[in-house]
């Protein structure tokens, strides 16, 4: 059985408590990533701190991409 290529869910999907938790975590990861990067740059560039900040920011954005895609799809459907 092959998995579907896209990991986004359809607009009829109902968001569960676990999903809300994941969305919150993703938003926090983006905020933390930005804060870490900003503070790291303030105290001089270090590869380790850039990696940590970039990691948080990148992973958070990647996760949020699916959330945004889901809400846009749902909005499109409700307009129709």
């Amino acid at each position: 059985m092959r998995r579907a290529k896209s990991t986004t869910v359809g607009p009829d999907y109902r968001i569960s408590r676990a999903d809300y938790y994941q969305i919150t975590v993703s938003v926090l990861m983006v905020i933390l990533g930005v804060v870490i990067l900003f503070r790291s740059l303030q105290s001089g560039i270090s590869s380790m701190t850039l990696l940590v900040g970039g990691g948080f920011l990148g992973l958070g954005c990647y996760r949020l991409k699916f959330v945004v895609a889901y809400f846009m799809e749902r909005r499109k459907c409700s307009r129709r």
């Binding site: 933390l32 804060v35 870490i36 270090s46 380790m48």
Partner: protein, 525 residues
């Protein structure tokens, strides 16, 4: 969770009821794996020093691959047997026994290590209550240094309570698991957010990275210990047996669990190195998260004691999973004639598996006493834990790859990503690249454990040898082969498993795949 089912022969057989939801399944895993960071942070810091974040990230990448493998196998074979069951099915009885004995070692160490760590977190309050630290009780007895009888007795008392609770049949409810799990997630998130916003000094992290980088030996030792912060993936397969529609639920919950634990482990080590000197964690190996929480501004005065209390509770629950896991594992192994059904005997009044509870908890007690005779009990137990886990995980990866060839018919609702498909004996099979990379990664950590852990390399294989002596004796007594396998009807078993899991779509797919295979065979004949 157990219910009694009448078999065709009129016998009464106990089965686990499937009533765990998505959230319950996630929290079950988190209460087990999420507790590991509370133990591993101090241990790893003591060796990996300025490179702690790096070793957590490296071990975490290997752990994510292990998680993928468990997710595929647990959703394809939703039974509580876990790693040993997958090995038994893929590699045969003997290798199932090897994986089972490695896991059994981990369950007994789990009891000892997590009870030791739980009392360690309780000792955070000792200076406020008794006016002295737990370290002040350490003494030298003949050739033995840094022996701490008070901490040892505290741990033995906690294990005693666990034995009593389990014999009486009082287990923590899934509701308690959920409450504690939520509290831990909220607390850890709060510590990470407040810590990174107000206390984290990037220059301290960078300075420790540049000036406190460990030697190669310490780096290897630290990275092999870091894997213990991710141990407990067996809970995914244990939860699978009690989850409704496991094929749908298990991939979602286990992938979320894997990434949550990974993020917390890496975030805590990075935060720790940017807030305090690594030596502070090494000195407070017994309660590192509480020390970190206590060092935070604004909330530290309350967060320190709160994290200590919460750490003690979740670690105690985690120690309990060792007792429960050993009972489930021995039951599963006895079903396949790996060990005697003598272990399955239940208490006449409390209906609990009294023999396994007493035997394996007592093994945990002995391990605790012996570890407290070494200079660092936590380090010694961590050594052993890493050996059992890495050996078991290596076997699971091999089973994952083998099962892709020997059982391509079982539907896999989730597949480890990155596969290369090709024809093998007239069938289309797919080779999991991440499975191979993960196997090499975890085997490397196993080599590191054997190479750098002076106690683990002796005691770990000695445990396997001891179990083998029993296994060989039992199989010979039953007139069963020692190195070969007894014939199992896996197809019938798979149909029963999918039926009991109410995965009727998968059942249909499985039957169709088998029918197609039989048709092809007939055509060839």
């Amino acid at each position: 969770m157990a219910e009694e089912v009448k078999t065709g022969a009129g016998q009464v057989k106990s089965e686990l009821r499937r009533d765990v939801s998505v959230w319950g399944s996630y929290m079950w895993g988190f209460a087990d794996v999420g507790a590991d960071t509370f133990v591993a942070l101090g241990l790893v810091m003591a060796y990996a020093q300025g490179a702690t974040s790096l070793v957590f990230a490296l071990a975490g990448i290997v752990y994510i691959m292990i998680g993928f493998a468990y997710t595929e196998l647990a959703s394809a074979y939703p039974v509580a047997g876990g790693g040993p069951y997958f090995c038994l099915r893929g590699l045969g009885d003997f290798w199932g026994f090897i994986a089972g004995s490695a896991l059994l070692l981990d369950y007994t160490i789990d009891i000892a290590l997590f009870a030791t760590a739980s009392s360690g977190y309780l000792n955070f309050f000792m200076p406020f209550v008794l006016g002295r630290t737990i370290e002040s009780f350490a003494m030298t007895i003949g050739p033995l240094h840094n022996v701490n009888p008070v901490w040892c007795v505290e741990t033995l008392v906690l294990i005693g309570i666990l034995i009593w609770l389990n014999v009486r049949g009082i287990r923590e409810s899934s509701f308690l698991n959920e409450i504690v799990g939520i509290l831990v997630i909220v607390t850890e998130s709060a510590l990470v957010i407040v810590g990174f916003l107000f206390a984290w000094k990037p220059e301290l992290l960078a300075a420790q990275w540049h000036t406190q980088f460990p030697s190669l030996h310490n780096l290897m030792y630290g990275s092999s210990l870091a894997i213990i912060s991710f141990v407990g993936l067996e809970s995914i397969s244990q939860a699978a047996q009690e989850t409704r529609r496991p094929a749908t639920i298990i991939p979602r919950t286990s992938l979320t669990l894997i990434f949550t634990v990974f993020i917390f482990a890496v975030a805590f080590s990075t935060l720790g190195l940017g807030v305090l000197d690594w030596k502070v964690f090494a000195q407070n190996m017994d309660n590192p998260v509480a020390v970190l929480a206590h060092a935070l501004p604004f909330i530290g005065f309350a967060a320190g004691p709160f994290a200590a209390g919460l750490g003690a509770l979740i670690l105690f629950i985690s120690a309990n999973t060792g007792v429960m896991g050993a009972s489930r594992l021995t039951y599963s192994l006895s079903q396949f004639n790996i060990i005697s059904p003598w272990f399955d005997k239940v208490h006449p009044v409390h209906r609990t598996p009294i023999r396994t509870i007493l035997i394996f908890s007592c093994v945990g007690l002995v391990e605790t006493i012996l570890s407290f005779l070494t200079p660092s009990a936590m380090d010694t137990l961590g050594n052993m834990y890493a050996f059992g886990a890495t050996l078991g995980y290596t076997m699971v990866f091999i089973a994952l790859i083998k099962l892709r060839f020997s059982d391509p018919y079982s539907p896999r609702p989730y597949r480890v990503p990155l596969n290369v498909g090709f024809k093998y004996r007239g069938r289309k099979v797919s080779l999991p690249i991440i499975g191979i990379v993960g196997m090499l990664g975890v085997a490397t950590i196993l080599v590191e454990v054997v190479w750098t852990h002076s106690i683990g390399r002796i005691a770990g294989p000695a445990w396997i040898l001891l179990c083998f002596t029993y296994y060989a004796w039992y199989r010979k007594k039953q007139k069963l082969p020692i190195f070969k396998s007894v014939k199992h009807d896996w197809e019938k078993e798979q149909i029963e498993v999918l039926t009991s899991a109410e995965e009727f779509d998968l059942l249909e797919k499985y039957k169709l795949a088998l029918a197609e295979r039989d048709r092809n065979r007939k055509e060839i004949e």
